[in-house]
C-alpha cells in the first residue's frame, strides 16, 4: 500500500442494519472498508446475512428488505457516492459502471434466445456508448481476456451451447466490460466443478490486477477465501464476528465461531478422520438475543457472554496486528 491512492477506501460500509419481512433484523451493525485493488472475502453459512449485505451495496435488496440505518459510500473524494437511499438516477450511474456483480447461476442471467456476442455487445453499446463495430471488437477482446478460446466462435453461440464454467466467464466479461471499480462475486464459483472453480478464481485474481478492481468475494467456503483474499470478514447470524488479514485470521482465529469454521473447512488433508461439526443451529433471522449470538453454540460461553451486546473490538497487537477485530469477550480479557 505505497501510494496514497491505494490506501483510500473504494467502498466504506458503516453501521449497516438491514431488515427483511416483518422487521426481522437480518444484518446488524456491519462495518467494513475495501481499498482500491484489494480482495476481501465475506464468509458465512447460509442465512448469515452475507448476501443481504452485498445486495445492499448493489441496491438489489428483495422487495421485503429494507436498510434501517447505516451508510454505504462508494469511492472517495469527489467521486464518493452515498448509496443508501440513492435514487434510480444515481443507481443507473453506479450499477454496472462502478459496481458490478457476478452470482451463482450464470445461465439464469443470460437471455437464452440471444447469442453471447449480442448480449455482451448490448452492454457495451447501450451503457458504454460504443458503435456496432467497436462493440463487437471489444466483445471479442473481453471474451478472450476471460479465457474463452476461439472468442469469435463463442461470440455466435447461444447460452445453452456453453458449459457452466464458460457461461460464468461470459458473465464476468460482461461484469468487467465497463471497467467497474468494485466487483462483487456472490458464491460465483459454488455451483462449478472443482477444476473450473480454481480456474475462475485465478481469472478473478488476474482481472483484479489488470483492471485494478476491488473484489468482494462472498462465499460459504473458508478454503476459497484462503486462496483468494487478502482480508476476510467472518459473518455469523447477521453480524461480523471477526475480521482481519486472511493469513492471520485463519492462522490464529480469535472468535470461537471462526475456530469452529476452520474445523469444518477443507484442510487439504486426504486421510481418514472424524469430520468436525458445529453443534446446534444458528438463531433464526431476526431472533433477538441479549448478548453474543454464537453463545448458544459456543463451547466457551460464560455468563458475561449473554449479559449484554458484545462489540467488534480490536484484537491486541500481541496476538494479531493492526486491522484485526473480533466480537468476543475473551478478546478483551488479557491472557
Amino acid at each position: 500500500m505505497s501510494s496514497q491512492l491505494e490506501a483510500l477506501p473504494m467502498l466504506q460500509v458503516e453501521g449497516l442494519q438491514v431488515s427483511v419481512g416483518d422487521h426481522l433484523v437480518a444484518v446488524r451493525d456491519v462495518s467494513f472498508a475495501i481499498r482500491r485493488g484489494e480482495s476481501v472475502g465475506l464468509v458465512g453459512e447460509s442465512g448469515s446475512g452475507k448476501t443481504l449485505t452485498c445486495r445492499s451495496v448493489l441496491g438489489l435488496l428483495p422487495e421485503t428488505g429494507e436498510i434501517d440505518h447505516g451508510s454505504i459510500v462508494l469511492g472517495s473524494g469527489p467521486d464518493a457516492v452515498e448509496l443508501t437511499g440513492a435514487r434510480r438516477g444515481t443507481w443507473d450511474k453506479v450499477r454496472g459502471t462502478r459496481v458490478a456483480a457476478v452470482f451463482q447461476d450464470p445461465a439464469s442471467y443470460l437471455n437464452p434466445s440471444l447469442t453471447i456476442g449480442h448480449q455482451v455487445d448490448e452492454v457495451l453499446r447501450v451503457r458504454g456508448g460504443l458503435g456496432r463495430r467497436a462493440a463487437r471488437e471489444r466483445t471479442i477482446e473481453l471474451l478472450t481476456e476471460v479465457g474463452l478460446h476461439d472468442a469469435e466462435l463463442v461470440y455466435h453461440r447461444y447460452p445453452f451451447e456453453l458449459s457452466g464454467g464458460m457461461l460464468q466467464r461470459v458473465i464476468i466479461a460482461i461484469a468487467v466490460s465497463l471497467n467497474p471499480e468494485l466487483l462483487i462475486a456472490d458464491e460465483a464459483t459454488t455451483a462449478l466443478d472443482t477444476v473450473v472453480q480454481a480456474e475462475i478464481l485465478e481469472l478473478l485474481q488476474r482481472l483484479r490486477r489488470t483492471h485494478q478492481l476491488s473484489l468482494l468475494l462472498v462465499t460459504h467456503d473458508l478454503a476459497v477465501v484462503a486462496e483468494t483474499c487478502e482480508r476476510v470478514l467472518v459473518m455469523y447470524a447477521g453480524e461480523i464476528v471477526e475480521s482481519g488479514p486472511t493469513d492471520q485470521v485463519l492462522g490464529d482465529p480469535q472468535h470461537p465461531y471462526t475456530q469452529a469454521l476452520m474445523g469444518v473447512a477443507s484442510i487439504g488433508d486426504w486421510s481418514r478422520r472424524t469430520l468436525d461439526t458445529i453443534p446446534g443451529q444458528p438463531p433464526a433471522a431476526g431472533e433477538e438475543l441479549p448478548g453474543c449470538r454464537f453463545a448458544p453454540r459456543c463451547r466457551y460461553a460464560a455468563a458475561e457472554c449473554v449479559a449484554g451486546p458484545i462489540p467488534l473490538a480490536p484484537v491486541d497487537a500481541g496476538s494479531g496486528g493492526p486491522g484485526r477485530a473480533s466480537r468476543c469477550v475473551r478478546v478483551a480479557v488479557p491472557a
Binding site: D193, V195, H220, A265, S266, D269
Partner: protein
C-alpha cells in the same frame, strides 16, 4: 475396514450406458454416458466417486438401481445378475429395497405434503407384509438411527425441517427397508459445511452399525477423504482411476486426478502440485478433441502429457500396488516431468 477375501456385494463389470443416438455431424460424441466402467463394492465399505458434471457418476448410480438400462456390461448384486431379472423377479427385487438411492436435494426429492412418518414409511408400504405396529416401530428405529427424535419430527413436513434434518430424513427413508447397499448421489452438496460433515459422519456410522455398503458421489474431496475407503475418479464417461482414497489423492496416477486434487481449495496448502503444473496452458496445436472422438484418450484434449500413443484410449490397468488402477499410458510417470519442465515432444519421445 474391509477384508479383501469377501466377495463383493456389488460387482459392476464393463458397464456402458448410452442415452441417445447422436445426430450425424454433431460434435456430441458417441452419446455414451458411461463407457466400460467396472466397480466393486463390499459390505461395510464406503466408495467415493468423484468427477465433473456429465462424467457418468449419476448414470452409474441410476443404472445400478435399475433406472436406466445398460447398453452393455453386467451388474451383479449378491452374485445375481440384475440385468437378467425380468418381470416378477425384477419387481420382487425392487420391492425388497436392498439397493437404495439418496438424492442431492431433499427439498426436491421429498414430497412436501407428506409428514416425516409417511415419507419414511413409504418404502415399507411398497415392500408390504408389516403390521401397522411393526411399521411404526421400523420408522422410529430408522429415525433414531439417523439421529432424529421420532417424537419431535414424525408429524413435521419437509419445509419445517432444517437442511441437515431433511437430508437425514432422506437417509432414514433409505435405510428403513434395511438395505445392503446405499447409493448417495451428491448427498451433501446442498448443505453447509457443518451439516455436510454431520451427514458424512452419519454415513460412516451407518455403514458400521448396519454393515452397509455405501457409494457416495461427491465433489468436496476433503470431506469425502475423511470417510471413504476407496475412491473412483470419472472423466467424460470413463473410470480413469481408482484405489485407496488416501493413496489416490496424495499420489494421483492419472493427470486428471492430479488436476482435481491440485484444484481443490484448502485453508492450508499441503498439495505439492499446483493446478498450473498439470494444466494445459495453451491450446494444443493438434486437434486433440478429435482424438477423443476417434477413440483416443478421453482426457487428451486437456492433458499436458498427451502424446501420440494417446490416440487410442488406454485401458484401466493395475498399477503397483495392484490395489490401484489407472487408465493412462504415463500413469504416475508424468510426475517426474513436472519440475524438469519438459516440452511435449520430450515427453512423447
Amino acid at each position: 475396514m474391509t477384508t479383501p477375501t469377501t466377495t463383493p456385494l456389488l460387482k459392476v463389470t464393463d458397464l456402458s450406458v448410452s442415452y441417445a443416438r447422436p445426430k450425424k455431424g454433431t460434435h456430441l460424441g458417441t452419446g455414451a454416458a458411461l463407457h466400460g466402467a467396472s466397480l466393486e463394492v463390499r459390505r461395510g465399505e464406503i466408495v467415493g466417486i468423484v468427477g465433473e458434471t456429465g462424467s457418468g457418476k449419476t448414470t452409474l448410480a441410476r443404472a445400478t438401481v435399475g433406472l436406466v438400462t445398460p447398453a452393455a456390461g453386467t451388474i451383479e448384486f449378491e452374485g445375481a445378475d440384475l440385468g437378467a431379472l425380468r418381470g416378477r423377479a425384477l419387481r420382487e427385487f425392487r420391492r425388497r429395497g436392498q439397493v437404495q438411492l439418496v438424492f442431492q436435494d431433499p427439498l426436491r426429492s421429498l414430497d412436501p405434503d407428506l409428514t416425516v412418518a409417511r415419507l419414511v414409511g413409504e418404502p415399507l408400504d411398497i415392500a408390504g407384509g408389516l403390521s401397522s405396529r411393526e411399521r411404526s416401530a421400523r420408522i422410529d428405529e430408522a429415525l433414531r438411527e439417523v439421529g432424529l427424535d421420532p417424537g419431535e419430527v414424525r408429524g413435521r413436513r419437509p419445509r419445517q425441517l432444517s437442511g441437515g434434518q431433511r437430508q437425514r430424513v432422506s437417509l432414514a427413508r433409505a435405510i428403513v427397508t434395511r438395505p445392503a447397499l446405499l447409493f448417495c448421489d451428491e448427498p451433501v452438496s446442498a448443505l453447509d459445511v457443518s451439516n455436510r460433515n454431520l451427514v458424512l459422519n452419519l454415513l460412516d456410522r451407518l455403514r458400521r452399525d448396519l454393515d452397509l455398503a455405501v457409494v457416495v458421489i461427491a465433489h468436496d474431496l476433503s470431506s469425502l477423504a475423511g470417510i471413504a475407503d476407496r475412491v473412483a475418479v470419472f472423466y467424460r464417461s470413463r473410470l480413469v482411476e481408482q484405489g485407496p482414497t488416501r493413496d489416490v489423492l496424495e499420489r494421483p496416477a492419472h493427470p486428471y486426478t492430479a488436476l482435481l486434487t491440485a484444484s481443490a481449495p484448502s485453508v492450508e496448502r499441503h498439495h505439492e502440485i499446483r493446478p498450473a503444473d498439470v494444466r494445459l496452458d495453451a491450446e494444443p496445436t493438434e486437434d486433440r478433441a478429435g482424438w477423443t472422438a476417434q477413440g483416443g484418450c478421453v482426457f487428451a484434449a486437456r492433458c499436458r502429457f498427451a502424446h501420440d500413443a494417446c490416440r487410442v484410449q488406454p485401458d484401466l490397468v493395475p498399477l503397483d500396488p495392484p490395489t490401484r488402477e489407472a487408465a493412462c499410458y504415463v500413469a504416475g510417470e508424468w510426475a517426474a516431468h513436472l519440475k524438469t519442465n519438459l516440452t511435449q515432444q520430450e515427453i512423447a519421445s
